[in-house]
């Protein structure tokens, strides 16, 4: 008998706890670079294929190899895919953290561990399943070099047994993961997986309550990372020029984009690229390329994170003032400075909205799901060209780099909006144009592109003062008129940006406001508040800055409005305060979490209850 089940209380061991089905959290603790990603994905996909909602979150250190890493898979019949603080099933592969990992568990949790670690000595209120990995790996993996990697697949098999994940699904997930080209590697790993399963089946007696059961909640769904979804959005937006510089957690957005571009955007006839991607020397150059390309008519973009966005400050002011389209993704990580580069935050909201010296404001789109990453990536390009200004798309590490369940993306129904660009024919018709004149009342002037074959096409773009005709001007009136038009343009965007997602509950006195990935914790928290405290809440999730007028109404319609966000300084609240009246502001409360992990429902619920004085 090799499992030690609450060994000090044999009476309780006899009566099994009631089963907990499709509602638990698996955490795999390993070391960075030890190659457990495949095992974890296979495990997650196995559950997913059984129709159970899942999410996968990787908590990794800012190094390449050897430091502690935790991968968490949450299965939730309720469809909760936000972080859950409590770990139900720990797969303890990392000797360095094993003790601490075990110490943190709630009573009743499962520990699957490497037998020699002897973790079962540590506590008596957990379900322990020790696995002799080294013994098991030898027979299935003759090549010693590969054993370190293959070892990981053994725990997938063990977990499958413990949680009743069907091995056919594991098999399918595994072969899919390796792809047609790596069949041999897949076979090898499948062997390890089976060995784990068989060992568990043969050796263990199931004592814990956690298990999966088939559901039908994932049919047709996909699993995708936010960065991948945004990348796809860029490709379908028709991005043509990319300047970028690597930085975690943003690099994969570009790398996915490059992958898609290579597959789908080479000219079918000539095989040549309908795009240009340049790895710039730094973020200043990256955004400089974006502006140059946007100016010359490309759909251009870059992607970065905090430090890179800071470096773009001066250029973004140029983009604002010269009115050049461009899309900038900020996949937010924890600042300030280098901060925690592999942790998540919503910490750049305010500095990005107000990036650069002088008077200026920048629009931001803030997706909270892969679907929105895809859609907003496309929307961002349209908006940038429609409003002739840099548009930010604010993801965060949680959304960008973690694995999310999503509905398949919908093919865009509207054609691309290239904004107000005059052709030579237009110029013939109009007999000229004034670049910065508000002809249509939306604050947006008409522009021409360099290369337009017309003697009246040219104008001069400058970051210094200019009049409607784009001529150099230091005149007070010209400056003020231009700045007022820019304000008007910004205000005009409110109506054109993605509208908030609003869920008004009858009689709710409390409103919640949030953006981005806070959504998952909030959805779950609202259920907790209702179920546990009888508190009904309305919820408005903003998708863009400047804020929609719906937010104003939402505030008016509720007594207290909690602004929930993932930063220390209450940046979303701050941006709201800039826009709102004292009366409106009086209703606002703040819930902030800034520990670097994805926001979880309990944190929201607890803080709200505390503030409600309950």
């Amino acid at each position: 008998m090799s499992t030690s089940v609450l060994p000090t209380d044999s009476a309780r061991a006899a009566t099994l706890p009631p089963p907990v089905i499709n509602d638990f959290c698996i955490q795999v603790a390993t070391a960075n670079g030890s190659g457990s990603q495949t095992s974890n994905n296979v495990m997650m996909r196995g559950i997913f294929q059984m129709g159970i909602p899942v999410s996968g979150k990787n908590m990794f250190p800012s190094n390449i190899q050897g430091l502690p890493t935790w991968f968490t898979i949450r299965a939730s019949k309720h469809g909760y895919v936000g972080r859950k603080k409590e770990v139900d099933v720990l797969v303890a592969m990392n000797p360095e953290t094993a003790k601490e990992d075990v110490a943190k568990l709630d009573a009743g949790a499962v520990v699957i561990y490497d037998e020699p670690l002897g973790l079962n000595q540590q506590r008596s209120d957990l379900h322990f399943y020790p696995v002799p990995y080294d013994k098991l790996v030898g027979p299935v993996c003759p090549e010693a070099k590969l054993r370190k990697l293959v070892r990981n697949m053994i725990y997938t098999g063990v977990v499958a047994w413990v949680l009743s994940i069907e091995m056919e699904e594991i098999h399918q997930a595994l072969f899919r993961q390796f792809g047609a080209k790596k069949k041999k590697a897949a076979e090898l790993n499948w062997g390890a997986c089976q060995a784990g399963y068989d060992y568990a089946a043969k050796t263990f007696t199931k004592t814990d309550p956690f298990k999966v059961e088939r559901m039908n909640a994932t049919a047709g769904k996909i699993i995708v990372e936010g960065n991948q979804a945004a990348a796809l959005g860029c490709v379908f937006a028709g991005v043509t020029v990319i300047g970028w510089y690597p930085i975690t957690p943003s690099s994969s957005l570009i790398e996915y984009t490059i992958g898609f571009l290579k597959r789908f955007r080479n000219d079918p006839e000539t095989g040549k690229a309908t795009y240009a991607v340049v790895q710039a020397e730094d973020e200043l150059a990256a955004v400089g390329m974006v502006l140059g390309a946007g100016w010359a008519g490309a759909r251009s973009m870059t992607s970065s994170s905090g430090p890179g966005i800071s470096l773009m400050s001066e250029f973004v002011g140029l983009g604002y003032y010269t009115e050049i389209p461009g899309v900038i993704f900020d996949v937010q990580r924890v600042g300030p400075s280098t901060g925690l580069p592999t942790r998540t935050a919503q910490g750049d909201l305010m500095s990005t909205a107000l990036l650069s010296h002088g008077d200026k404001k920048h629009p931001m789109l803030i997706p909270s799901s892969p679907e929105e990453c895809f859609e907003m990536a496309m929307a961002a390009f349209d908006l940038a060209e429609r409003y002739q200004t840099p548009v930010f798309v604010m993801l965060d590490l949680d959304l960008g780099m973690n694995s999310w369940m999503a509905d398949p993306f919908k093919y865009p129904t509207k054609p691309i909006d290239r904004g107000k660009v005059l052709s030579a024919a237009d110029l013939d018709r109009l007999g000229g144009f004034a670049r910065y004149k508000d002809v249509d009342g939306d604050g947006v002037g008409y522009r021409t592109l360099a290369g337009t074959p017309h003697s009246q096409a040219a104008y001069f773009t400058r970051g210094s003062g200019h009049n409607e005709k784009a001529q150099y001007s230091e005149r007070e009136e010209d400056y003020v008129n231009n700045m007022d038009r820019l304000t008007h343009k910004f205000e005009h965007m409110r109506g054109a940006l993605p509208a908030p997602a609003v869920d008004i509950r009858q009689g709710a006195k409390i409103g919640l406001v949030a953006v981005g990935t806070s959504d998952y914790a909030i959805g779950e928290s609202r259920d907790q508040l209702r179920a546990e405290h009888g508190i009904e809440t309305s919820y408005l999730r903003l998708k863009a800055y400047p804020f929609s007028d719906e937010l104003r109404k939402f505030i008016a319609d509720h007594d207290r409005v909690y602004v929930i966000e993932q930063n220390r300084d209450g940046q979303l609240l701050g941006l709201m305060k800039l826009d709102y009246t004292g009366e409106e502001i009086s209703k606002l409360r703040s819930i902030r979490y800034y520990g670097g992990l994805p926001l979880d429902a309990r944190t929201v619920t607890a803080d709200l209850i505390r503030q409600e004085g309950k």
Partner: protein, 347 residues
């Protein structure tokens, strides 16, 4: 080639445009500033070669020099960007529309101080682009501080002496990928014209370092970028002549004294040696020549290096021939089937 008959026929170039159509707005630089001469040469060359103004895009950073694109080619789009970071802006624009003829004008402060990183990385990419530095050894617009091209021992108007070695922008360009590298002097009309025309015909990155004195802040005794100093110390390596491709003239050259470089577009640069065998040679020869000139205290001008056919950034990126910026939706938005395929893969 102009077919319209005008009452008083004006002088036009081969595409029927008058020289005024190559001019810009009135200069706001100081009277006598070297930069104004460079602007004039640009006007002349583009007129002479009959280049369609709207096929050109002008770029600059910030500085007196960087103001000058407003003072030539008024019918071309222009972009006066931020200090030192014009190369990236130009790179983006040229990628968006590779059919443009890209022309950048910047200063030594713009290029060698704040912009050195971008300048160097531009070299590596061999962007098809003309990059002119109006080099006066100082920051003109901020009133005369030393730039990083100021020579050791050179004196500031207010008395300061420069102690740090200057960056030789030609040497940097040479070593790191520019395929056309030349130095000239804003006071040397003929040479600058020939160099500019050859640069216009060049396929890749052409870097032209033009010593262009700042009459207000760096034209005094003790300066090594004053008109007097440069006139006294200039040594032209060779005599240059440019024969555009469309001029179907059989040029007879004396092989002993003159070499012919055929540019990518078929134009010819004729290089007649003056003293020692100073034709553009290999990179290392050019570097050595530059080093020797520096040691000798000579301001060596001329074309140091030409490599007419090297792959440009666009070649490296294997881009389609048309401007990316105006490709129709059908060519930049994949179809429903592609999305379906990706969704299937993610299921």
């Amino acid at each position: 080639m102009s077919t319209t008959v005008t009452p008083a026929p004006k002088k036009v170039n081969r595409i029927g445009l008058e020289v005024i159509q190559y001019k810009g707005s009135k200069t706001t630089l100081c009277a006598g500033c070297g930069h104004n001469s460079v602007s004039e040469r640009i006007v002349e060359c583009f007129y002479d070669l009959g280049i369609q103004p709207w096929s050109v895009a002008k770029f600059s950073g910030i500085g007196c020099s960087s103001k000058s694109p407003a003072y030539f080619l008024g019918l071309s789009h222009g972009f006066n960007s931020v200090h030192g970071r014009m190369p990236s802006v130009a790179t983006g624009a040229m990628l968006a529309n590779r059919t443009l003829l890209g022309l950048g004008v910047t200063g030594d402060g713009d290029t060698a101080s704040i912009g050195l990183g971008q300048f160097m990385h531009l070299q590596r990419r061999n962007l098809p682009f003309i990059y002119i530095i109006e080099n006066n050894g100082v920051y003109g617009l901020t009133k005369g501080q030393f730039s990083a091209t100021a020579d050791i021992g050179s004196k500031q108007k207010t008395g300061g002496v420069n102690e740090a070695p200057p960056f030789d922008l030609c040497a940097l360009a040479l070593q790191w990928g520019a395929t056309f590298v030349a130095r000239s002097f804003s006071g040397d009309k003929k040479q600058l014209q020939a160099i500019l025309k050859a640069a216009i015909s060049h396929k890749g990155l052409a870097v032209i370092d033009v010593i262009s004195p700042c009459v207000t802040f760096n034209d005094h005794e003790g300066s090594t970028k004053s008109y007097t100093y440069v006139r006294d110390h200039e040594e032209a390596m060779h005599e240059l002549d440019f024969v555009p491709s469309y001029e179907d003239i059989a040029v007879e050259i004396d092989e002993g004294t003159t070499r012919e470089v055929t540019m990518h577009d078929g134009s010819k640069l004729l290089i007649k040696k003056l003293a020692a065998d100073r034709y553009p040679g290999t990179k290392i020869e050019a570097l050595t020549t530059l080093q020797e000139a520096e040691t000798a205290g000579v301001v060596l001008t001329g074309v140091f290096y030409v490599e007419p056919e090297k792959d440009t950034l666009m070649d490296q990126l294997n881009m389609v021939d048309e401007p990316l910026g105006t490709l129709p939706e059908s060519r930049v938005r994949p179809g429903q089937a592609v999305l379906d395929q990706v969704m299937e893969e993610l299921r």
